[in-house]
Amino acid sequence: MQETLVDVFDAVLIDCGCQELVSHGRIIDTTASNSVKMLGKPTISAVYSPFSFRQIIEFILLLPLNFIPVVGVPLFLILTGYRAGPLQHWRWFKLRELTKKDRKKEMKKRKLKYTWFGAVHLALQLVPGLSMLFLITSAAGSALWAAKLEKERTSRVSATIQPANRYEDDPA
């Protein structure tokens, strides 16, 4: 499953013009006819989001929240989304070769946005039978978001260095 999610994520990133970024994580066949066929062998581990026991445990522990009438269900989704949201951008952080510290910083910076993203993502997960399809579409969605953030980030970075220099990603 993880590999499929990574493929979807990478292909959407390529569609959005972030091919350079994707090439940090896998070989890209530039002669292929579309973004999905362009995906080559991974050069870093193809993990979309790390399997988090903490997340599953929290999910199970928070399930009784659904007992509360009316507010229980949304509250449950938001609290579990708090954990699930940032993990949706794990692949993006990996492609950028962020350190653990930088990753935490990024997650904290958009904590609230990730929580909302995660809540919607988890609400979709409750649809019986379609949960795996929505896992994939959420990966596409998170890639669309990552591409947008990536553009904002690179334009910010290139604004601070001389325009003559081509931007090179060097997180070290």
């Binding site: 919607v120 994939i136 969605g141």
Partner: protein
Amino acid sequence: MAPASSRRYEWNPIKIIAGASWLYPIKGIFYFVGHPRFWPLFKGRLLPIILLSFFVYAILFTFAFLPQVAVLAIFHGPGAWINGAVLTLGEGSAVVALLFEAFFVDVSLPVIRIFHG
């Protein structure tokens, strides 16, 4: 949740609406459905997932749904049916996720490939 840290992003009202993060999972659905080149990525997984989740939900709704609704009904009347359904669906999705991770993990994990050159 730390609303203070994302303050910087919330000044521009246009940006809030256009870039609302909670919309992206929905945008993803339309993107995936609207671009047929992505469909083959899902096809291979479709059957085992549908079978697995069908069995899990069938079992849960047969044996776990009614008792939970009964317990819920003690605390809040007719709303128990809705809360009970969400509760059971949540349990089902946790079970499916765990089972899927346990039995259908990709054999060709690239980690192995890297270590073997």
